[in-house]
Assembly symmetry: C2
Homo-oligomer: 235 residues x 2
């Protein structure tokens, strides 16, 4: 079975939440737009008249096209054992992933509060206002929820005694928040020891260690989701 | 098997996307906070230390607690046959539901662009700015995508030849947009005939007809997700 991932080739973005479990599990995949360019991605999307994606990332495998990060991870979880198979655990993990997706959507809203199609530079005042609430209220609310979720399991991971796609997503979330809000994270991340422990364990997975050291890992940058605007950060 | 739905008792909100397929399928369920009040909902959430929901709605059934609209619908789809069971159709329908969830999140952003915890009255200028882009760009983009999805199936529904949770969600989406943006919807909804056809078919399902005529259907109001602020609407 082949796995073709389609996502913007120059950023981590939402695609990174798919790349990470593929890399951790050692699943062979092609990152198509990194091979063929962004124009190939646009052309591929346009060619999918029916049942196409609303937006990248999407994964094509065995005649099935799956879009939406959480849906792709659900699919990989079932097909490749990257998630527990029992209903209670499977749905719980998906729920955590959907909560992470909501958190990431608010991260995007921090720098684009009043216009998803407009530049950050044209909404800096509004972004500063949203960012203050985000740092003070939303970050602790989401992180506390995820910390409780992590503490609910004694196996060292989010669910059970081996890593799942939820753990690689938590890793990426912590990485992104540290990049975007270095001051704020330094002030509060100690409140979330179970999340930091999972972050550390994911970083040491052989597949992730190799990936992070490779040029397949694109650096964080200002046109991704996590953006380092110092004026939006504070303790 | 019993189904306990927990959601804010005074609004349609996100809970309505769960109530509708339960009603359409004639599944017996208890709308717990409508029976016992909002305080009971808050107490129930607080009592769920582990694996609790980040926010309502959540559904409790047979010892499993499922939160997040799309996740609840995935669960009901599998358990109660409210979705096709083949992988390609099942994942496609979930993908459409997740896209609707993103659309609804942007609907909320229309009236709360710079502070989810602040009043609309304190962000009216920013809301007007976001609303303009939403009406002109985002609404047609999402609706066109969903129209293409609906047209891809010849069975009269989103997938296959019987209704699924995706169809009840499209119904609620059209209802909500007509309430919130009456001028804009009047101007553009004719561009989406397949969506309107599904909306009409869902409205005539016996379970939905009964529900809409009952006092279980809460009217749209200004503290839900779809809010009728005339200053945010325009052709």
């Amino acid at each position: 079975m082949t796995y073709d991932l389609w996502y913007w080739p120059s950023i981590q973005g939402r695609g990174e939440f798919v790349r990470l479990p593929l890399e951790a599990a050692g699943i062979t995949y092609r990152d198509r737009a990194r091979e063929d360019g962004a124009q190939a991605l646009i052309a591929d999307m346009q060619a999918r008249e029916h049942r196409g994606p609303f937006a990248p990332p999407y994964l094509v495998s065995d005649g099935i096209t799956v879009a939406h990060v959480a849906n792709i991870l659900l699919f990989l979880g079932e097909r490749k054992g990257l998630a527990p198979s029992g209903d209670a655990d499977r749905l719980w993990l998906h729920q955590v992933q959907l909560t992470i997706a909501d958190f990431v959507a608010e991260v995007h809203q921090v720098h684009h509060p009043v216009g998803t199609g407009q530049y950050y530079e044209d909404q800096k005042t509004e972004a500063a206002r949203f960012a203050a609430e985000f740092r003070n209220d939303r970050m602790p609310k989401f992180l506390s929820y995820l910390e409780t979720a992590a503490q609910a399991n004694t196996g060292g991971w989010l669910v059970g005694d081996r890593w799942s796609y939820g753990d690689t997503s938590l890793f990426q979330l912590i990485e992104g928040l540290r990049y975007m809000f270095p001051k704020r994270m330094q002030a509060i991340e100690g409140d979330y020891p179970a999340l930091l422990a999972i972050h550390g364990r994911v970083r040491e997975l052989p597949g992730i260690r190799d990936y992070l050291a490779s040029d397949r890992r694109i650096p964080f940058k200002q046109d991704g989701i996590f953006r380092q605007y110092p004026e939006l950060d504070a303790q």
